[in-house]
Amino acid sequence: MKTNTKAVDINRGIGDFAYPERHVRDAGIGLSEKTVHYISDVKEDPDWVREFRLRGLKTFLEKPLPTHWASKDLEAIDFDKIRYYLAPGTAPSRSWDEVPEDIKRTFERLGIPEQERKFLAGVEAQFDSEAVYSNIKKAVGEQGVIFVGSTEGLKNHPEIFRKWFGKVIPIGDNKFSALNSAVFSGGSFIYVPPGVKVKHPLQAYFRINAENFGQFERTLIIADEGSEVTYMEGCTAPKFITVQNWSSNVFNLVTKRGLAHEDAEVKWIDCNIGSRLTMKYPGVIMKGRKARGEVFSIALANDGQHQDTGAKMIHAADETTSNIISKSISIGKGRATYRGLVHVPKHLKHCKNNTECDALLINSTSRTDTYPAITVRGTGNAVQHEASVSQVSSEQIFYMQQRGLTEAQAMSLSVNGFVNDLVRQFPMEYSVELKRLIELEMEGSVG
């Protein structure tokens, strides 16, 4: 792909939305032991975390790029040109007038309150590479649930954090998990105590502003015996999505995993809209008997974007159940890839997996690929896999236009129809927001 080099070009074309970077703490460009020490110093890491990072760096440098499963796009990443750490600046340094009109309009359309818009646009204080959490945190805290940023997690809850950190996602999992281990900042840490069922989905808002900066979150979820938790991302984070939309040069390479103990349930709801390249495969390790894992994911790849998403389900106990439902939409020259890994080892009994992945192509230039890797050994385990690819036909659009809908309206209604059965299972307010986001995305891509 020719445009790849653009991805790491620091000076992108005029008209792009990027503010001058004024970060108080900035690890500079490139990656070395010095970078890692710098991050550890700034974050006041305990020694074991510092060591963990250094081991991560070593593994990262040794491991080749995962070309067998990853995108060619990755070759466009120049690891020496990336900023690996940026911490919040303190003083607001720009005015609302400087914010481009279309971004302001996007905020309006999303119905983001005035005050919040300023924060989002970087007019107020910035929060690069630190997670900002909603006040759900307080409510679940009363049930003993820990829902914090990963930095705070390892500082304030070392007894739980240390036990699981790096075990659920080993450093050597892949080149990017090694990189992540070296430079991680931000991301969530969730611990759900035995028997606690968290009703409302937990969600985190992230913000990326600085150019050429990969977001290296690390999210870890531990669901203890008999507990239930849903973690939701992207679907309702206008901050995240808006920013992704502004910065089509953002690489979103993240490692996320949940661990479900006996009879516990971990659910991911993951929406990926925008971003130049996303590689994200939330996973659940079902470690206890009767544990359940579920990933619902929606990905929308617009022109010039590649959404490489999916799920990993690791069955590690008897009678565990996993369910993956993935829907992707490719628009223009957008490309969506589903990559799924389901692993059931030989000695396990009565495990079940259900995988459904549906792709929708909007234009004839749109692209989708599916790579399911299902390894199920042993007897008495059941897997079910369904995949479909459909296209919005021009006859369908004509039919809808004949009823008075504009082409863009017809497209977004079709896309909504495609994700409808999945979105119906989301809480109401999320589905409404997701619909608006799809509309916005389609508006820009038609005509």
């Binding site: 459909s390 036909s393 021009s394 006859e395 369908q396 004509f398 039919y399 809808m400 236009q401 004949q402 009823r403 008075g404 809908l405 504009t406 082409e407 309206q409 017809a410 209604l413 079709s414 909504n416 129809g417 495609f418 994700v419 409808n420 059965d421």
Partner: protein, 283 residues
Amino acid sequence: MPLRAGRRKKAEAALASAAKPGIFWVPEMNALVVKDLHVTIAGQEIVRGLSLVVPRGEVHAIMGPNGSGKSTLAKVMAGHPDYEITAGKIAMDDQDLLELEPDERARLGLFLAFQYPSEVPGVTIANFLRAAVQARLPDGEELEATDFYARLYEKMELLGMDRSFTSRAVNEGFSGGEKKRTEILQLAMLEPKYAVLDETDSGLDIDALKTVAHGVNSLRGPDIGILLITHYQRILNYIVPDHVHVMVQGRIVRSGGKELALELEERGYDWARDGAAEPAFTR
């Protein structure tokens, strides 16, 4: 409906030249007008100099053999992008339609009940119609949900449709007859100025035919012009037309009153074609 400046100019120019005798058409304030239309697809001329006037308040029927170009005519009126119009005009209440997008024509009041309606996967009838009705409201005006559903249920009752249909995806897994009924439901909800019904009677059982005909008849009135495309004289017993046209090989070869349908059924298309030394043009 606001017109883009360029389009308005074009429309005005067309009207100005229309006023000169012999050029374009004589303005028809309240009619759907097709004048000397030629349509080509895949290098083949399908509609070959067709003219037709359907005034509001009237029902016209078009009958013609398979492949004579009836559906092509209907789709071209609605603005299907695949067809090339090499000559001729289509206008609705003096508004040139050829310059407009399909959705603009629809919002101006043109409705087409498709011979083969498309499926809209995952989009329920209720949501689809809500979006369509909403698209006709002025900017900033929100559709009142309770009124909408009251009206929807009323129309469904008229067409003998079960309410559970509202939550089914448009045409997805519908039987042929259900699709046709759904087309008429949309017609009833959208209240167009002109409706083209392309073989809405095909595939309907006798009871369904009566119900659908009853639905269409209840919409009949001075505010709507209807063009009914059909192969069968039978439906014309229920929806009695003011005029009948016979279309053969892309042209209207004969026009007459409702008795023409009966005569045609008796004598066949060869008679219709032979009898017309020259393409007939009503009004």
